[in-house]
Each structure stands twice: as structure tokens, then as C-alpha cells.
Symmetry: C2
Subunit: 154 residues, 2 copies
């Protein structure tokens, strides 16, 4: 069993890589139908009437895929998942390029800031910069999640 990677073990500047993930047309349309049924997320025909030109994923789908890749990277190291206590929020989420059917995404997360929690000594706050790229290495998404991690028991 891996040792738990506590808040105290987290270092500013350290990063993890996300394994590639391919998104299908069906997944893009299914997510849009469930959560963001705007015409340009549902068909090429409707997207052709906008600056998207052809079907583009909902930004929320791209963001959910970023989370999926990040959790997979944590869970490849159980000591990292064991310390995760969710997140307070996210700053500066940006959708930089449309994500298209068949795109293969990859990405990384880098620790940019950490601070102890004043109100909750059992957890610390870690801010990361997450960047997701497509198969042409163009950034499609950046965001700065503010996550909580367990502190080492006294």
C-alpha cells in the first residue's frame, strides 16, 4: 500500500501528467443533451451557423474530461487519492480552443500555491494550474482549481 501523500508532502512546482483520452462524437452529443443542449454542441449543421464551424464539445464537458484525467492520474497513485478532500472552487477557467469529435486530449497539473487552512487544521489548501492540450499540442483548457488535502495527523 502506498503511503498517503499529505498536504505537507505537496511541493510548489511539482506536477503530474494526465494520460491521453479520446472523445467521441456520441459522448459530445450525449453530454450536451444532458447538461448544455445549445445547438452548436448538438450538430454540425447548427454549429456551421456560428463561429464554431462544426460540432464542438460543451466547455463543461471538456472540463469534466480534465477532471476525469486528473482523477485517473491521482488514482494511479493511491497515496494521492487518499489525501484528496475535494475542492473549494476554481479560478480562471478558460476554454481556449473548441474540442472536436475524435480529439485526443492530454494534460498536466502543476502545484502553484499552498497554504494551511486557518479554520480547519485537518486540511490544507493547494492551488494548481491545470492545462489540457489536444493532439496538436494546442492548449484547449486552463484552470486553477483550489483543492483541499489532508494534513499529516499529529
Amino acid at each position: 500500500m502506498s503511503e498517503i501523500i499529505y498536504f505537507e508532502d505537496t511541493e510548489v512546482g511539482s506536477s503530474i501528467e494526465f494520460e491521453p483520452l479520446t472523445v467521441s462524437r456520441e459522448e459530445i452529443v450525449d453530454f450536451a443533451r444532458a447538461f448544455d443542449p445549445q445547438p452548436f454542441h448538438l450538430s454540425d449543421e447548427a454549429a456551421a451557423l456560428t463561429h464554431f464551424g462544426s460540432l464542438a464539445s460543451s466547455g463543461w464537458h471538456t472540463t469534466a474530461l480534465a477532471m476525469k484525467m486528473m482523477v485517473a492520474a491521482w488514482q494511479a497513485n493511491p497515496g494521492m487519492q487518499a489525501a484528496s478532500l475535494g475542492a473549494l472552487g476554481v479560478d480562471e477557467l478558460r476554454w481556449l480552443q473548441p474540442v472536436r469529435p475524435g480529439d485526443t486530449l492530454h494534460g498536466q497539473s502543476e502545484v502553484i500555491e499552498k497554504k494551511a487552512s486557518k479554520s480547519r487544521p485537518e486540511m490544507g489548501i493547494v492551488k494548481t494550474l491545470v492545462t489540457v492540450f489536444n493532439q496538436r499540442d494546442e492548449p484547449v483548457l486552463t484552470m486553477k482549481p483550489i483543492a483541499m488535502f489532508r494534513t499529516r495527523p499529529a
Copy 2:
């Protein structure tokens, strides 16, 4: 047919209300399995080992539900959907309270800022403050999407 509500028709301070939406345990677990399979989003038992205490939705699920409610509000007024061109990103997304199985969410979106696009005269940029509440009127989510809307044709 409704008239299109162009960027020029958007007023700072104007707001729209979101119709209530109830989230089930199955939906919470299905979303988490697909995109955010951290233990506290999958079962009460695992959540009991964290500050969540019992099953809580992924923050990304709550955010996707906010989008779903917002798009439903736009599509109740087709002139509003017709002007929407997606979003550049979101600032200051905050998950303020866990969302639980059976919670009924409602919310609102208020225009807080608007500006013309320098590079793309066919669209303008509108920043809103979205707030989602639970059935006890506790805010569970706030965020500031930066959306693009069509400008009135010359």
C-alpha cells in the same frame, strides 16, 4: 418567433431566474463514475470517512446542473438562445455547500459587466454572476461566466 436579444439589448443589472431541478442519488453516482470517481462522490460509506459525512455530488456535476438550468432559462426565450455563441471561460467558481441526493436546486444569473469585442465585431462579451441555491435557499455554487453574444447586424 421571438426577436433575437442581441449583445446591444443586454443590460447590466438584468437577471433571469432558473426553474427548480431535483438531483437523484443515481444521477450523482453516474456523473461521478463517468468524470470524477473519487470515493466521496460514489458512496455514503466512503464519504463518511471525510468532512462530507455522506454522499455529495461532484462539484463539476453541480456546475453542469447550473448550466442545464441556465440553458433551459435561455431556451424558454428563443431570442436569447439565438444570440448565444458560447463562453470564453469562467471566473471565481465556488462550491459553497455539498449537493446531496434529493436536493432541489434553483438559481439565477445576473449581468454584471459587458464589453464589445475588439477582435470580433460580430460578438460582444457579457460577464454574469450565476448563483445556485438548494431547497433551504443556501447558496451551493457561485460563478462568473464570460459569455459571447451576437451583436446586432449593421
